[in-house]
């Protein structure tokens, strides 16, 4: 990471902290803000957040590792999260899983070579009445069928 890049990340984090407050309770919104832009929170960003919030870097890392939606490793520009909890599972999660893996040529937990899409599982998305469900970034899709998977993937740039 070069100096310019570092400076811009520091600037970004400073902005987020100004918005949410220079206090530990801003940690999650700040992490979410950084991740929204970079799809993950880099080593450098974690240390800058720690410095600016006056906590230890390991505390930032600890928090990131706790929450399943936060990442310290780079991810694709888009994340597809497929619900794997019981009702979606009973309503045909497996077929959707297969369709996604087949169409993208990657397994769950992996990212496409062009760094466009990461496949992940999620626990209950609160769409049990309309399963199987998945979310693409923050947009939710319900009653997904293998056919619909192709449409969804086509909709991702």
């Amino acid at each position: 990471m070069d100096v310019l890049e570092k400076n811009s990340i520091t600037e970004e984090i400073t902005g987020l902290i100004e918005q949410f407050g220079r206090d530990r309770s801003s940690l999650l919104p700040v992490l979410q803000g950084v991740q929204r832009k970079h799809q993950h929170i880099s080593d450098f960003a974690q240390q800058e957040i720690a410095r600016l919030l006056d906590i230890h870097p390991v505390e930032v890392y600890s928090v990131i590792s706790f929450y399943s939606f936060l990442h310290s490793k780079p991810k694709g520009r888009n994340t597809i999260r497929l619900c794997k909890t019981i009702i979606c599972d009973l309503l045909g999660k497996n077929e959707i899983e297969e369709a996604l893996e087949r169409e993208l040529g990657i397994k769950f937990g992996e990212t496409t070579n062009d760094k466009n899409i990461t496949l992940e599982y999620a626990n209950c998305l609160g769409m049990c009445d309309q399963g199987p469900a998945l979310i693409v970034n923050e947009r939710v899709y319900t009653k997904v069928t293998p056919q619909k998977v192709i449409e969804i993937l086509n909709g991702i740039n």
């Binding site: 999650l28 399943s68 049990c128 309309q130």
Partner: protein, 401 residues
């Protein structure tokens, strides 16, 4: 998202309501009057634990502190629950008005909505709604020209089921890992940043808006003696009409099955993964705090489903979602899952399975928070209620489905 099936019994939560009504009422009466109506209604928390809301608010109101907080628990993560999603999308006015009433009543000036990350798609519309409330002077300073100030901020979760536990939620709001706190002290005394905090479920706030406008007695008329009012049930699984059902407490499981158009039903999981699984013989059980209690999740499984597979899904869920701080929950859930895998393979002894059930009972009493205290429920109830299927020699529980 498709349109939702909603069944409105006698509209209570879905009764007529004009936005801001509860706030208008609350600013005109005393805090004691609000608390009186709540007490009269006998409403208990809608998240599942069933703590009397009036008591919670009274304790928060009585606590001496410079600052107080109201938190709306919108971390609806219990498998099979989606009624809060519906309320937030369709009736944000009920939820936010209830929060403002809460702020006025307990003496808080700031409220948080802890919205689960999975619901980020509704963030924009909720924030727009809050902006509108500010414009209408229903939020902000001197609400409706009264002396009350109250603001609401929406904070997103980041994918952790345990943050639905109120003290874990507060930890998360403070920027920590979502690890439940020791209780006592309770949040009503020592909550967000150490200040008195009342944490209530989305549905509780919505109900409060109605109770304040229509009176506690009106609410109390519905339901049973110990479980008053109307409850939203999230019905899903093997039925024709999954959706949100507004029904009085005391409705039986079979009544819900009929309404939802379920046939050939083998089992009903009440209360989500952390709830209990009921077999046919118990479908006459009443949904109520005093009988089959629930935060609203009703999952229906028909004869074609493998109970072991369902149980495995639940236990995998808990192993992933346990925060990991306390021993019984962190390791106990993994051991229960081990047991299920051994059952699948047919490599078990009854002695070992009984030991696991015993372990589950220890987890129920020795875990630090509600997660570990309830995660063995489905393990114990499925193994006890579906013993024949699970131990059937021919299947080993494997070949069903």
């Amino acid at each position: 998202m498709e349109d939702l099936e909603t069944v409105k019994f006698q509209p209570v939560i879905f009764a007529d309501y004009s936005p801001g009504e509860a706030i208008r009422k609350a600013v005109g009466i005393s805090r004691q009057d609000v608390l009186f109506e709540l007490k009269e209604s006998k409403i208990k928390g809608r998240g599942g634990a069933g703590f009397p809301t009036a008591t919670k608010w009274m304790l928060t109101a009585a606590a001496k502190a410079d600052k107080k907080y109201v938190v709306c628990n919108a971390d609806e993560g219990e498998p099979g629950t989606f009624k809060d999603r519906f309320l937030l999308l369709e009736h944000p006015e009920l939820v936010f008005d209830g929060m403002v009433v809460g702020g006025i009543t307990v003496g808080a000036q700031k409220g948080f909505v802890y919205l689960r990350a999975e619901y980020e798609y509704m963030l924009k519309s909720l924030e727009d709604y809050l902006q509108q409330m500010k414009k209408d002077n229903l939020l902000g300073e001197n609400i409706l020209q009264s002396k009350y100030n109250f603001d609401i901020e929406i904070r997103l979760g980041s994918g952790a089921y345990v943050c639905g536990e109120e003290t874990a939620l507060i930890e998360s709001l403070e920027g920590h890992r979502g690890e439940a706190r020791n209780r006592p002290p309770y949040p009503v005394n020592t909550g967000f940043m150490g200040f008195p905090t009342t944490v209530n479920n989305v549905e509780t706030f919505a109900a409060v808006s109605h109770i304040i406008t229509k009176g506690g007695e009106w609410f109390r008329n519905y339901g049973t003696d110990k479980s008053t009012g109307i409850k939203l049930f999230s019905v899903s699984g093997d039925c024709e009409k999954p959706g949100v059902y507004e029904l009085p407490w005391g409705t039986t499981i079979s009544e819900i099955l009929d309404l939802a158009g379920a046939s050939n039903t083998k089992a009903v999981q009440v209360g989500g993964a952390s709830g209990y699984c009921y077999p046919k013989t118990q479908f006459d059980r009443k949904l109520a705090y005093e009988d089959a209690g629930t935060g609203g999740s009703i999952m229906i499984f028909n004869e074609s489903r493998s109970m072991l597979k369902i149980l495995k899904n639940f236990m995998e869920f808990f192993v992933e979602e346990s925060c990991g701080q306390c021993t019984p929950c962190r390791i106990g859930n993994a051991k229960l899952l081990d047991g299920i895998e051994k059952l699948e393979k047919g490599e078990y002894t009854f002695k070992y399975i009984n030991q696991l059930i015993d372990l589950g009972r220890s987890m129920q009493v020795a875990s630090k928070c509600g997660l570990g205290q309830t995660s063995p429920n489905s393990f114990i109830s499925i193994l006890e209620n579906f013993r024949e299927e699970i131990f059937a020699k021919s299947s080993g529980g494997r070949n069903v489905n």
